[in-house]
C-alpha cells in the first residue's frame, strides 16, 4: 500500500513538474503575475511529493519489503540499519530518486525563500528547474521505476554490494548528488537570464551561493570517495583517473571556475556571457557524468546499470539540455555586453586566468576520458587505445603547477589596476618561507625524487601566500597587534572563506606531492611473530584470528608497530567474507597521523600457512583529504557571509548549507 502511495506521489510530482515548467514561463513571457506566482506552490509541491515517494522507498528498505524488485536485489534482512538506509541510494533506481529529491529540494528552497528575486527571473528559473525535473522524473517512471513489484517475492534479498557497506561510501553519493544537482541551479538561473536577456550584479549575487554550495558538496563528496578508496582497496591508492572519477571531477573543475567568474560579474560587471556559458557547461557535465555512470557506455565496471535503453534516454536528455541551452546561448549571448575596463595586472584578470586554467584542465580530463571511445567509434572498433593515469598525470600536473603559482599573486592584486611588484611586496615573505620549507624537506628526504621539494615549495607558496596577504590586510606588524586583531575579527566571512579554501587547496597539493614522491612499501609472506622492516619502522605480525561480524566473517590480522625498538602502536587489518554475496572485501589497518600513515593490508593465506602481507608508509597522506575538508569549510564560510544573506535570495542559501551538511 505504502509502495503504491510512493509510486502515485512520483507520478503526481511528474504532472506538477510539467505544469511548473510551462505555466510560469508563459506568465513571465506575457507579464501575467498570477501564472508567474504559480511557480512557487508548484516547486514546493513537487518537492513534497518526491519527498513522500522517497520516504515510501526508505520505508520499504527499512522493513525489508522484498516484494519490491530494488529491495530484493539490493538489500537483505540481516544488513545493519545504516546500510539499509544507504541501500536506498546504493542502486540505480534509488539513486535516481535521490537525484530528483535533491533537485526538487533546491527548487523548493528557491520558491520558498527567494522572495527578493525579481518575479520574472524567479518564474523562469523555477520553470527551467521544472523542466529538468520533468526529464528526470520521466526517466525514473519509464525506465527505472523503484516501485516495480515482484510477482513472487523471494524469502530474503540478495544484499547490498559489500563494498558499499561502508560509512564512507554510504555518504559519498548523497554529497556528490548535492554537488551535481546543485549545479542545476546556476544552470536554471543562466537559462532564465538568457531568455530574459539580462545579466547583472544582482543575478550574480543569486547564482554565487548556489555555485559555492554545489562546489562545497562536490569537494567533500569527491574527497570521501578518494578516502574510501585509500582505506578500502588495500594498497593505498587514492585517485585513479577512472572515467567514473573523472565524471565527478570535471563538474568540480567547472564549478571552481564558475564560482570565481561569478565574482567578476558581481563586482565588475563583466564576463557575463562567459559565466553563463560556465553555468551551462557545469550542469551539462553533471549530466554527462550521470550518463557515463548510468549508461555504462565507457565500460567502467563501476557502472551499476548496463541497460542501453536507459543510456539512450539519458543521451536524449543530455542532447536536449545541452543542445537547447547552447543554441539559446549562441542566439542571446551576443546581446550581453560588458563595458568594464581592466588591466593585465588586476584581480579580475587573475580570476580570468583561473578560469582559463580550470577550463583547460577540465578540457584535458574531458578529452582524455572520451578519447578511447572516440577512437573506437571513428575506426569502427578497428583500433582501440587506452588513456590512463600516466597520461592524465602528465597532462594535468603542469596545469596545477600554474594554478598554484598564480593563485597567491591573484589574491594579492587589487581590482581594476594593480602592478606585479607591488603585489609581490605584499607577499614576499611567502616566497622566503616556502623556499625554507622546501629546503627542509629536501634535506629530510635526501635521495628522493628531485622535483619533489619544488612541488612542496609550490604548495607552501600557495599556503603562505594566502597567509601573507591576510597579514597585509590586517596591517600585521605595521599596526599595534590589538589593531591587527581587531581588523582580523572584522574581515568579512567571504574573505575568510576565500583564504581558508585557498589554504586547503595548498594542503591538498602538499599531500599529493608528498605521497607521490616518498611512499615506501614492502610486500612479503610472513608467519606469526615475524618482523617486517619498513622505512624507520619495524612491524611485528602477531597472527590472524577469525571473528564474526553482523553479516560477514572476517580474518583479522594483528600487527604491532615498533620505531627505534619502542612499541608505537597496534593495528589490525581485516579480510571480510560476505556469505550472502559470496564476496570479499579488505579493511586495511592504518596508523594514521599528520606526518605519515603506516598502512598494513592482510592478503591471502599461502599454502605453507604463512600470509601475504603488504605494508606501506604513506607520508602526509591525510593532508590530501584534510585539505579538501578545509576547502569545503572555506566554501561554507563564504556561503554564510552576511552579504550573501542581505537582500538577495540569501536565506535560501543558508538553508542549503544545512542541507549540504
Amino acid at each position: 500500500m505504502i509502495n503504491e502511495l510512493g509510486h502515485f506521489a512520483l507520478v503526481l510530482a511528474f504532472a506538477v513538474s510539467i505544469a511548473q515548467s510551462i505555466i510560469p514561463m508563459w506568465g513571465a513571457h506575457k507579464g501575467y503575475a498570477e501564472p508567474m506566482r504559480f511557480a512557487q506552490p508548484a516547486a514546493i509541491t513537487a518537492f513534497l511529493l518526491v519527498g513522500l515517494s522517497f520516504a515510501a522507498l526508505t520505508h520499504a528498505f527499512l522493513n525489508s519489503d522484498f516484494s519490491l524488485k530494488v529491495v530484493a536485489s539490493n538489500s537483505h534482512s540481516l544488513k545493519p540499519l545504516l546500510y539499509k538506509i544507504s541501500g536506498v541510494w546504493g542502486n540505480h533506481e534509488g539513486s535516481m530518486l535521490l537525484w530528483v529529491l535533491i533537485l526538487t529540494l533546491f527548487g523548493g528552497l528557491v520558491a520558498a525563500l527567494g522572495n527578493a528575486i525579481p518575479p520574472e527571473l524567479k518564474a523562469r528559473t523555477l520553470a527551467v528547474q521544472g523542466m529538468v525535473g520533468v526529464a528526470f522524473l520521466a526517466f525514473i517512471l519509464f525506465t527505472s521505476n523503484p516501485f516495480d513489484r515482484l510477482p513472487f517475492p523471494p524469502e530474503d534479498g540478495s544484499g547490498l554490494n559489500p563494498l558499499l557497506q561502508d560509512p564512507g561510501l554510504a555518504f559519498h553519493p548523497p554529497f556528490l548528488y548535492l554537488g551535481y544537482v546543485g549545479l542545476s541551479m546556476p544552470f536554471s538561473f543562466a537559462v532564465a537570464a538568457l531568455i530574459e536577456g539580462r545579466v547583472d550584479a544582482g543575478w550574480a549575487r543569486w547564482v554565487r551561493p548556489w555555485a559555492l554550495a554545489a562546489w562545497s558538496a562536490l569537494t567533500i563528496g569527491i574527497a570521501l570517495g578518494s578516502y574510501w578508496a585509500y582505506y578500502e582497496l588495500g594498497w593505498g591508492g587514492w585517485w585513479f583517473w577512472d572515467p567514473v572519477e573523472n565524471a565527478s571531477f570535471m563538474p568540480w573543475l567547472v564549478a571552481t571556475a564558475l564560482l570565481h567568474s561569478v565574482i567578476v560579474v558581481e563586482k565588475r560587471g563583466t564576463l557575463q556571457s562567459w559565466t553563463i556559458l560556465l553555468a551551462i557547461i557545469g550542469f551539462s557535465l553533471s549530466l554527462v557524468g550521470t550518463f557515463i555512470v548510468r549508461s555504462g557506455i565507457i565500460t567502467s565496471v563501476h557502472a551499476f546499470a548496463n541497460d542501453p535503453e536507459r543510456g539512450v534516454f539519458i543521451l536524449a536528455m543530455l542532447g536536449l539540455a545541452v543542445g537547447g541551452s547552447l543554441i539559446l546561448y549562441t542566439w542571446r549571448a551576443p546581446q550581453l555586453r560588458s563595458d568594464a575596463v581592466f588591466s593585465t595586472m588586476s584581480r579580475e584578470s587573475a580570476l580570468v586566468l583561473n578560469n582559463l586554467l580550470m577550463s583547460v584542465s577540465c578540457a584535458v580530463v574531458f578529452i582524455g576520458t572520451l578519447y578511447p571511445l572516440m577512437v573506437e567509434l571513428a575506426t569502427d572498433g578497428e583500433s582501440k587505445i587506452s588513456v590512463g593515469a600516466p597520461f592524465f598525470d602528465l597532462a594535468f600536473a603542469p596545469l596545477m603547477v600554474l594554478v598554484l603559482l598564480v593563485m597567491p599573486i591573484g589574491t594579492a592584486l587589487p581590482w581594476k589596476r594593480g602592478d606585479l611588484p607591488k603585489a609581490m611586496t605584499r607577499i614576499w615573505p611567502a616566497v622566503l618561507l616556502a623556499f625554507c620549507v622546501g629546503t627542509v624537506f629536501a634535506m629530510l628526504r635526501w635521495g628522493g625524487p628531485i622535483l619533489a621539494p619544488f612541488a612542496i615549495m609550490l604548495a607552501f607558496w600557495a599556503i603562505f601566500g594566502v597567509l601573507a596577504d591576510l597579514g597585509e590586510r590586517v596591517k600585521l606588524g605595521r599596526a599595534p597587534i590589538s589593531e591587527s586583531l581587531r581588523r582580523l575579527a572584522n574581515l568579512p566571512r567571504s574573505v575568510w572563506g576565500q583564504a581558508i579554501a585557498h589554504i586547503g587547496f595548498g594542503a591538498t597539493a602538499f599531500g599529493v606531492a608528498a605521497i607521490t614522491a616518498w611512499a615506501s612499501e614492502d610486500i612479503r609472506t610472513a608467519n606469526a611473530g615475524d618482523m617486517i622492516p619498513l622505512s624507520t619502522y619495524e612491524i611485528r605480525f602477531d597472527g590472524v584470528t577469525i571473528e564474526n561480524g553482523p553479516n560477514f566473517r572476517s580474518d583479522i590480522g594483528r600487527f604491532t608497530i615498533f620505531e627505534g625498538g619502542e612499541e608505537v602502536g597496534r593495528i589490525s587489518s581485516e579480510t571480510r567474507f560476505y556469505p550472502v554475496q559470496n564476496a570479499y572485501t579488505t579493511e586495511a589497518g592504518i596508523r594514521a597521523s599528520l606526518v605519515e600513515d603506516v598502512y598494513v593490508s592482510l592478503g591471502d593465506k599461502q599454502s605453507n600457512g604463512s600470509w601475504a602481507i603488504r605494508s606501506y608508509v604513506k607520508p602526509y597522506a591525510n593532508w590530501i583529504w584534510l585539505g579538501a575538508l578545509i576547502m569545503t569549510l572555506g566554501g561554507l564560510l563564504s556561503l554564510s557571509d552576511r552579504r550573501h544573506r542581505v537582500g538577495a535570495p540569501t536565506r535560501a542559501k543558508r538553508q542549503k548549507v544545512v542541507a549540504a551538511e
Binding site: 565507457i298 563501476h302 578529452i367 610486500i523 603488504r614
Partner: protein, 157 residues
C-alpha cells in the same frame, strides 16, 4: 567512487591484491624497474587499471612476463615493445604520440594557447581603452558616481 577496482576484486571473489609476494624479483633494481613498467601497462580484462594495481589473473600473467623479459636482460623499451607486439597498443595506458592521437596530446596545449591569446587581447583592449580615456584627459566615472548615475536613469543595481 573507486568501486571500479573493487568490482574487479568482486569478480575475482578473492581478496588478492596486485603484486603478490611470489612474483617479486630478488634483485631490487630489476624489481623496481618492473614496478615502474607495470604502472604504464593496462590490465586487459579490467578497465583503466594498470597491471600494477590489478588483482586479475591476467594481470598477474603479464606482470610475470614483464619480469621474465627483464631477467632475460631486455631494456625497458624492449620490454614494452615485446608487450605491445603481443597485445597491441591498447595495452599502453599512455598512448604513443601519433597522428591519430594528436588531438589527445595537443588539445590541452592548443586550448591553453587560444585561451591565452583571448586573455591577452581582452586585457589589451582594456588597456588601450584606458589609455585613450587617459589621453583625452577624461577621468572615468568612479564606482560611486556610476551608482548615482544608474540610480538617476533608473537602471537597477
Amino acid at each position: 567512487m573507486r568501486i571500479v577496482l573493487a568490482f574487479v576484486a568482486l569478480l575475482m571473489a578473492l581478496p588478492a591484491q596486485a603484486v603478490e609476494p611470489d612474483e617479486i624479483l630478488s634483485d631490487p633494481v630489476l624489481e623496481s624497474r618492473a614496478r615502474e613498467l607495470s604502472k604504464g601497462l593496462r590490465c586487459l580484462v579490467c578497465r583503466n587499471q594498470s597491471i600494477d594495481d590489478s588483482d586479475a589473473s591476467l594481470a598477474k600473467d603479464l606482470r610475470v612476463v614483464v619480469r621474465e623479459r627483464l631477467i632475460a636482460g631486455d631494456s625497458d623499451e624492449a620490454v614494452i615493445e615485446f608487450v605491445v607486439n603481443r597485445y597491441g597498443e591498447y595495452v599502453l595506458l599512455k598512448p604513443r604520440f601519433s597522428i591519430g592521437n594528436a588531438a589527445l596530446y595537443l588539445g590541452g596545449p592548443f586550448l591553453l594557447l587560444i585561451g591565452g591569446f583571448a586573455f591577452w587581447r581582452m586585457t589589451r583592449q582594456s588597456e588601450v581603452a584606458h589609455q585613450k580615456v587617459a589621453a583625452a584627459g577624461v577621468t572615468p566615472l568612479s564606482d560611486d558616481e556610476r551608482r548615482k548615475l544608474d540610480a538617476l536613469i533608473g537602471k537597477p543595481d
